[in-house]
Symmetry: C2
Subunit: 80 residues, 2 copies
DNA sequence: GGGAATATTCCC
DNA sequence: GGGAATATTCCC
């Protein structure tokens, strides 16, 4: 599966829910704790565990960061 | 390290010796059992365990297959 | 946040 | 065996 396919699988994965989820409005992705998410979840779906590489892919596929806090991280897509 | 750096490390790695080595003439690389090499050695150095991906990199860096047998696999570099 | 380099995959 | 697409890294 492509990046978008893996992103969908990840957001569907109950064991990943503590680390990443759709926002309550359903129009963006929230990463609850980027560094834990990177080590615990990323390697299950990608060939790396770097949050920056995940963000690079999000950006390539049209997502951009919307929240300003550093602890949680939210990405919206203009199509929503 | 780059691909060539990892290749050098791998050929230096005693635990990898049963799977991959310099030829006796020192001018090419011999993979003794490609499928075992792929599963046992590749993931220690690269983000995959596919022999074809390793060969793709060898080709990109100027190595080409010289032996015809399928069980062992030899790659020479024109610089040697 | 994204351009470019390199790695990995896919396909001919 | 290599071109092209995609992923990952590196760097600005």
């Amino acid at each position: 599966p492509s990046f978008i396919g893996k992103l969908a699988m990840m957001l569907d994965d109950q064991t990943a829910a503590p680390y990443v989820a759709w926002s309550s409005t359903g129009d963006s992705i929230i990463v609850i704790n980027p560094s834990l998410f990177a080590t615990q979840v990323l390697p299950r779906y990608f060939k790396h565990s770097n949050f920056a590489s995940f963000v690079r892919q999000l950006n390539l596929y049209g997502f951009h960061k919307t929240s300003q806090e550093s602890e949680t991280c939210e990405f919206a897509h203009p199509m929503f």
